[in-house]
């Protein structure tokens, strides 16, 4: 399906651009020796403002690319949406209602203006505002993503620390093989296996579906446990590897010898003195994986029939509901930017040198 390919490549392009912009903004920011020597104290509020201001150009680029999605598709958007059976009159009417006949810049400003007011247009097929369609699908996805990320952190960070502390031993190798498996096994396959074992054979958990939070947190967790593991195992593996690498680098640092010479216990040295120093790359990985979780959710939500954003994308693509697709892409890109901003802020909480640079 060419439309699917276009949309997927569009999402990738948007995320790549966001990444590029962010990394460009970040160059020369962290850990510059010259910065570290400066003893000027900058207040946290000023730091946050500067970081937030840096988001504006990124968001503008996101808006432009997302907006252009409709125009980058091969052929006429209205014709694509209506399919081959549509009459020229129908196509013309739709063009009119979508505003496709107006000059591009007017369309863009109208679209941005509406988007800023929370109006992402009307779904042609469902007949509802895009924003409410997204809202309905958002809760399951957010719950799933948070659950998956919590699982990934709870498994990945301790596994990485253990591997680093026992570097070169069987434990280390076991963790690394586990991580390799976590990265290599696709989430849908893992999801199907989990479903087969824990839902079908053992009957401990529901096979598929979703129960909203209003009906009880425990019920939601029961439904989301298997999808979260399927979705989070790859992040867990990535986090474990990054934790191990970062910890190994930190463990050889002289200040840990100082900590030992002070008479501190091994656990205090590892979990207080080493982990806080090793946290930056781990945090970056967590931030990045959180962004890709949404893409991964599309697959896992389909396998486990969770009515979330992922399923909404897939269904919208099948329906060629471009307005909804556009809204979802904007949402994903903006949340990606905001997550990166959050990671940035966390950096400064963890490492004073970032704050003072």
């Amino acid at each position: 399906m060419p439309l699917f390919a276009t949309v997927v490549s569009d999402i990738t392009i948007v995320l790549d651009i966001v990444d590029l912009e962010i990394s460009w903004l970040n160059t020369g920011r962290i850990l510059h020796k010259s910065d570290m020597c400066q003893r000027r104290e900058v207040h946290m509020g000023g730091f946050l403002l500067r970081r937030a201001a840096a988001l504006i150009p990124v968001l503008i680029v996101v808006a432009i690319v997302t907006f252009l999605l409709i125009h980058l598709m091969p052929g006429d958007a209205a014709a694509v949406m209506l399919g081959p059976e549509a009459t020229p009159q129908q196509v013309e009417t739709l063009r009119e209602s979508l505003g496709l006949n107006q000059p591009l810049y007017i369309q863009f400003f109208t679209w941005v203006g509406n988007a800023l007011q929370g109006d992402l247009g009307q779904s042609f097929f469902i007949g509802l505002p895009v924003i409410s369609v997204i809202q309905a699908a958002l809760a399951p996805t957010i719950n799933l993503a948070i659950f998956a990320e919590i699982f990934a952190i709870l498994v990945g960070v301790p596994a990485g620390i253990i591997a680093a502390r026992k570097q070169g031993t069987g434990t280390d190798q076991a963790v690394m093989v586990g991580a390799l498996l976590g990265i290599s096994v696709p989430s849908f396959l893992l999801g199907l296996f989990l479903m087969l074992i824990f839902a079908v054979l053992l009957g401990w958990l529901p096979v598929a579906g979703y129960s909203p939070l209003e009906d009880g947190v425990f019920e939601t967790l029961r439904y989301l446990l298997l999808p979260a593991i399927a979705l989070g195992s790859m992040q867990a593996a990535l986090i474990a590897r990054m934790t191990r690498t970062s910890m190994l680098e930190t463990l050889s640092k002289p200040y840990l010898k100082t900590a030992k010479a002070k008479g501190l216990s091994g656990n205090r040295i590892i979990y207080k003195h080493a982990l806080k120093n090793a946290a930056m790359p781990i945090l970056t990985t967590i931030g990045q994986t959180l962004g890709t979780l949404v893409a991964g959710a599309a697959v896992v939500e389909t396998v486990f029939n969770v009515p979330g954003i992922g399923q909404l994308i897939v269904n919208s693509i099948e329906r060629r509901d471009i307005v909804v697709i556009q809204g979802v892409i904007l949402l994903i890109a903006v949340s990606y930017v905001l997550i990166n901003f959050l990671v940035d802020v966390l950096y400064s909480v963890l490492d004073p040198r970032v704050r003072f640079s």
């Binding site: 570290m36 020597c37 003893r39 640092k253 002289p254 200040y255 010898k257 100082t258 900590a259 030992k260 010479a261 002070k262 008479g263 501190l264 216990s265 091994g266 003195h273 806080k276 120093n277 963890l350 490492d351 004073p352 040198r353 003072f356």
Partner: protein
Amino acid sequence: MTNLLEVVDLRTSFDTERGTVTAVDGASFTVAPGEVVGIVGESGCGKSVTAESILQLLDPASTTYSGQVRFGGEDLLTFGETAMRRIRGNRISMIFQDPMSALNPVFTIGDQLTEAILAHRRIGKQRARSEATELLEKTGIPEPQRRMRQYPHQLSGGQRQRVMIAMALSCDPELLIADEPTTALDVTTQSQILKLLIELKDEFDAGILFITHDLGVVAEICDRVVVMYLGEVVESANVHTLFDSPAHPYTRGLLASTPDIASDPSIDLPIIPGTVPTLHNVPVGCRFADRCSFVLPECRDRPIDLEVLSDGHSSRCIRSVKLFEDSAMSDGVAR
């Protein structure tokens, strides 16, 4: 006077990919209360490993210790990790070479000092903080209150080393091990830090084991000196004896290669030829033989024993007595 620390035949080996290497091979020396003992030698001679072996700071997975480290009537090498923790930072504390990397960059000075105090003493956090501030004041840091809230990167090198000293003294230790504490500092700061160490040593009545490669520093602050070469103690003497009549060719070489304000700048400074061999191919006989200008064929036959020349002076050289007596050969080591 009973000794504070008695290191007897200390041997520290590491397992490496290329086999076991012995970084410290049978080192023995003592430190008395209030005494400053220097350990000198080139890089790689095992002086830092000796220092860290006393507190067992090396990676336990790959390090083996043998011999004795007698402290307070007990052998520290028989202590387990928990017992060692009560010694470290409490009765024996340590100052490291580079105060930038030895302080944790992500915690404030106050946190790191307070933590050192709270690790060994059952007092409240508030009291620990006020004691930490007092300690900082004692080390002569300006504005100790403000420093407590600052991070290591906001301090200068000398200030950081003062923080390390305050941390080391926080539990009133009996022995202070200083591993090249002035090497990373500029010259004026160096002398300030040395002066501070000596002042505080007298105030706290602690013994100091001072590791350095700088003979100028040794002359300034040490009472006795232990010279190490490739993991072995090659000479040990009272500081005056060592500078006036060194008995080992290596010590003579070190002394001759130290620049002097009175020396003629047009004449090249004598050097010890060659470099320290690696621990993977330690010579059978005298370990210094390949670089020694007094070498005899029999030097290479078998390991040389440490020979006592006079009270408190010993040297690991078969020609010690002759070299010691032969004052005419003042600096005949190198060309």
